[in-house]
Each structure stands twice: as C-alpha cells, then as structure tokens.
Amino acid sequence: MHRIDCPWCGVRDEIEFAYRGDATVKRPEAGAGVDAFYAYVYERGNPRGWHIEWWHHAAGCRQWIKVLRHTLTHEIRATAKAGDTVTAPKP
C-alpha cells in the first residue's frame, strides 16, 4: 500500500488514487507523422528506478498529480501539482 501525499489533500492511501501512467510523455507536433504518434500513444519505457507518474485522486479532490516513485523500492520521493515540474534523481 502506497501512502501518497496529495498536494491538495495531504497524505492519503493509494486506494483513493488511480494510476494514470508515465507523466513525461509529450504529445508530438501535429505534423510529426504516424510513427511519432504511434510512439506517443503506445510506446512506454519500463524503467527500473525512478519514474515520474500521473496519479488521479479519484476518490478525493479529483485532481491529477505527479508522483516521483521508485519502481524497485516503491519509495515515493516527491509529489506535485499537474502543472509543476518534477525531476527524477540520477540513478
């Protein structure tokens, strides 16, 4: 069970949240071509280490937040509002 520090609500149990994937994916420019969009929609890394993720506080304030989580240890080192920048530590 994770304990996630929602920037709006404070520390809450993971069960209140829905995992919404990699928060570092950027939408390509409109003319970037089909390969770029294929990668944007389907291709994801599977990192062993720090991962910046979207979590949706579905049963609380209904906001999407960014969470810096270690995929091996499950340590959560930082959380931020959707518009904030989160940087992963060097592995």
Binding site: C9, G10, I15, E16, A59, G60, C61, R62, Q63
Partner: protein, 202 residues
C-alpha cells in the same frame, strides 16, 4: 401547464427508521438525516479572487482553503477540490439557494444545484470517531482532525464529504443520494457494537 416544484425526498425515508439500533448502553452514537439545500460552486477560469470577493460581500462568508470548511449562521462552505466548494444551507424552497448564490457570484463562478444529488447525515457522540474509523482511511484523532476541518474521502467504500462540526464529536457526512441507502446500511452495522439512536429527519 404549470408544474409544481419537486420537493426533495430523501432516499433515506424508507431506509433510516427512527429508533434504537444495535447495542444498548451509554456509548451509543446519534444519527440523523438533514434536509439541506446544496450547491456546488466552482470559480470560472482565472476568477478565483473575484469569486472569493463576491461570496464574502454577497453571502457573508469567506471561502475556505483546502481541507477546511467555513460557516456562517445560515450557510456552510466546504472545500471539495481546487477552486470548488460545496455550499450547504437549511432547505427553504426548491432552487432558492442556487438562485441566491448565482445572483451573488455573477459571472465569477459556476453554480450547480446538488440538493437532490447528495444526502446529508450527521453522526454524533463520544464513540462517533470509533464508528467512522472502521471504514475511514484518514486520521480522525483530535491531533490530526478538528472542528472546521473537512475531507473528501471514501467512508465504508463510498465517496464521502466529511467534516467535523464540534468536539462531541459530531461529523457531517455528505454522500451521493443514490448511495445513501447503502451508506446508512454500512454505518448502522459499523455502529451496532456501540448502539445507534436514529433521530427523525430534520
């Protein structure tokens, strides 16, 4: 053809029978359904400061920051999400609260009437916290949660807006009306060990 305004009829009319439930003793809690007018108020983009001013001047209430509720003699505002609050007032007539809030905030905020959408309950008594702790994942101990604080969190697996009213302690629980019957079913089970006195609806 004139259509009469629908009176809000709580889904708990059938489910919540006044009287004693569960154990008999001095540790019992009190549960009561309240007829309230509810509106959700959301600031229009970039208008949060205008909305706060309009509500302060028009409704005599300061909009609370995250995790808190503000009350005036006739109105309570509960923070539910960024730039959005649930306003709660004694029921007068259908749509009255939404109309008066809309008039007060003008174009600074969006107003949605939730009177029929949500049901309001209050649980009170020395063991009220123990009852809620069987299904609530946030810390309700006085060191962490006090009168004036509020949270949107699941209680008994049902999404709930919870706020503490006083140190009895009393808690106000606002749940979706469609789930109110299931919620009360859970709540009466949770309270059975202490006993629960259900009062007639307000």
């Amino acid at each position: 053809m004139p259509v009469s305004a629908p009176e809000p009829r709580s889904p708990l009319v059938q489910a919540l029978k006044p009287g004693r439930h569960g154990a008999v003793g001095a540790r019992q809690v009190t549960l009561r359904a309240y007829r309230r007018s509810l509106v959700q108020l959301q600031a229009r983009k970039g208008r949060a400061a205008d909305l706060a001013t309009a509500v302060r001047q028009g409704l005599g209430l300061a909009l609370p920051p995250p995790g808190r509720a503000e009350t005036s003699p006739t109105l309570a505002a509960i923070w539910i999400q960024p730039s959005a609050w649930l306003l709660c007032a004694p029921y007068l007539a259908e749509g009255d609260l939404a109309r008066s809030v809309r008039a007060a905030v003008g174009s600074a905020g969006a107003v949605v009437d939730q009177t029929h959408g949500k049901s309001v309950l209050r649980l009170s008594g020395p063991t009220a916290r123990a009852v809620l702790e069987t299904g609530c994942r946030i810390d309700l101990h006085p060191r962490a949660f006090a009168p004036g604080q509020a949270a949107a969190t699941p209680v008994g697996h049902i999404d709930c807006i919870l706020r503490q009213l006083d140190n009895a302690p009393s808690y106000e629980l606002i749940v979706a009306s469609t789930l109110a019957e299931a919620f009360v079913d859970w709540l009466l089970h949770a309270a059975a060990a202490y006993g629960c006195e259900v009062l007639p609806p307000d």
